[in-house]
Symmetry: C2
Subunit: 370 residues, 2 copies
């Protein structure tokens, strides 16, 4: 990821330019829309931009152009892929805004979540009614606005692409990703509640399905494929991008699941053990439940999802899950999936530069601590 | 609207065909997604389809093709406009699903709203956690899914359009409408809360702004313009469509505001006086507040937005608003706006058929009782 930060700057500049145009439209309607504008910028200013990076290097894997950080605006021929990468980030911001309402999360990246920001605005403005209701309602609308914008940004990028077949394929990949991640999120919130009436034998399969649709395809495979299709990838190239992306995406999410239970608050920006309080039924939990004796499993089931868990209960659960060997098994699964991704990469018909960058990205997303 | 019901059938068939394809994708992911599928169909099976009709006759105003109900599937050259009309209905379903969460509405068209349907599913399935939380979370995701689908449906329709300039213009109109209605909805929920700290002099202007963006452009002007651009409208034609659509849209919403306070539950499918309990700050309320003496205005402000209003309080408020002359003033505004729209229509460079149909639609949307 030698060029990672310059590329991130490029995507960021594209997002900022786009937002500036869109928010001037909002302001022409009413100055009262300023919070939609301010909070959009705020939610789009940070993040790791992994999706944008995968999209760019998926493009370069096929286009073989490398990345010249001194070329103005990344070069004219990069406009479509940089816009698509930016669109993925705007879509992701929309998903997070809605996700935080769904999960009732107070924070995002260490700062207040969108509905809490609107809630605060209501409280400090002395408006009538419930601040919490206004916060939630406004954040639903902010997410809707960002969803629409992500789509406009993608279209702006694909418009000047001379290869119309490639533009259509990239758009098809984007809309498939959009539907799949929404379906994956529904399966995720369903699993948190429906596990009580489902058979224990199926729990791992169900957790895997959530990983594949909510995370692996969304965060890695689809961004790579969108980038690749923009460059006019052959079937072999697209297969290689997917063959690399899916196992890497699974490893990425398994690392996320570990961080959700064992992550350092300072680094993740989330309270320690957050996933335990939320009751997320991840692969880690599915594997722990397979390994635990009945008594311990019942205790886990009883405590998991209790928003009031104290620090002592959290660390007890952390130990229980770790002592039964579930953490080691997840680490093995991460290693296996990374190995599978790396093997595909080694044989992939990609540019040299992209192969190196994708290898570095694979390490970054699966060894991270935040 | 001689062809109204056949046209509605055509749009409905397009929606059904599209949903059948999309839900087969959902089922290939997991049978657990069935409720997303079932509730989508349910929310897309009804409604007055005014937006679809305006879109079609906006197209015909320019294309001058009329409507032959016996032509199979409405004819090949109608595929783009019928798809766009269907896309407007799918977008509207998405907006309603989110709107009902925002307004905390239990019903929609006399049946349970989406979040209440998911809430019921949770309760009857014996799943863990809060049914209300699951209902809200799932409905947010259902709305997101429908938003994405509306966009796909529009694209499918515009793809085969030979006039690429027209396709781009239609898409630009659609995305502008999408952002404007979201902004309008935010201004609406803001006004319900922020009126307490704002000057009384501005209340009418603020209510007008909500009407223009949340309703008039969204429900009438934009559908007409989208239809017109698909047919390759000249600037004069597009100006006429807008000049007719905007005042008609204002009249449409003013009628809606009256129905929200005085509508018959049997016909509207909503509890009588629903807007009073919700505390909507409509033009009707703004005008009543201008006309009422201080004591009565204070009483109105106190009761408006109280979800517990009983039937006696509702009918007292209905009388107060009517006795001060606000209802008569709204009726005059409706008549003025309809007259303005009709005058534009009389001079408009449209096909004969479209002129007749648009005139009939103008009557239907401003004289309706549901």
């Amino acid at each position: 990821m030698a060029h990672g930060s310059r590329l991130v700057d490029l995507v960021h500049a594209r997002i900022e330019g786009f937002l500036a145009e869109r928010t001037s439209i909002l302001r022409s309607i009413s100055p009262d829309l300023e919070p939609l504008d301010a909070f959009s910028k705020r939610f789009l200013s940070g993040g790791k931009r992994f999706r944008a990076l995968f999209c760019y290097w998926g493009w370069d894997a096929v286009a073989g152009r490398g990345f010249d950080p001194f070329e103005a605006e990344g070069g004219r021929d990069r406009f479509p892929v940089v816009s698509a990468a930016a669109a993925l980030e705007v879509f992701h911001a929309a998903a997070l805004v809605h996700d935080d309402i769904i999960d009732n999360s107070d924070t995002r990246r260490g700062a207040p979540s969108a509905h809490r920001l609107f809630e605060g605005l209501h409280a400090e403005s002395g408006w009538a009614g419930s601040s919490a209701d206004f916060g939630r309602a406004s954040a639903i609308l902010l997410g809707d606005l960002l969803l629409g914008w992500s789509d406009e940004l993608l279209d702006e990028g694909l418009e000047p692409l001379p290869d119309r077949q490639a533009a259509r394929a990239a758009r098809a990949e984007f809309v498939r990703m959009r539907a799949e991640v929404t379906a994956g999120q529904y399966l995720d919130i369903l699993e948190e509640r429906a596990w009580v009436v489902q058979s224990d034998e199926e729990q791992r399969t169900r957790a895997e399905r959530v990983i594949v649709y909510k995370a692996a395809k969304y965060s890695v495979e689809s961004p790579l494929a969108i980038g690749g299709t923009i460059a006019g990838a052959t079937t072999a190239q697209l297969d290689a991008l997917r063959g690399f992306g899916l196992p890497l995406g699974i490893a990425y999410q398994l690392r996320d699941d570990l961080l959700g239970v064992y992550g350092d608050t300072e680094l993740t920006g989330k309270p320690s053990g957050d996933d335990l309080r939320e009751g997320k039924r991840t692969m880690l939990i599915a594997i722990a439940r397979e390994r635990l004796a009945l008594g311990q499993r019942r205790l886990l089931d009883e405590l998991l999802g209790d928003p009031e868990l104290d620090a002592g209960q959290v660390s007890m659960l952390q130990r229980t899950i770790s002592d039964c060997g579930a953490v080691d098994e997840i680490e093995r699964l991460i290693a296996d999936n990374v190995a599978r991704a790396t093997a595909v990469l080694a044989e992939a018909p990609f540019s040299q530069d992209a192969r190196a960058e994708l290898g570095a990205l694979a390490k970054a997303v699966t060894r991270r601590s935040s």
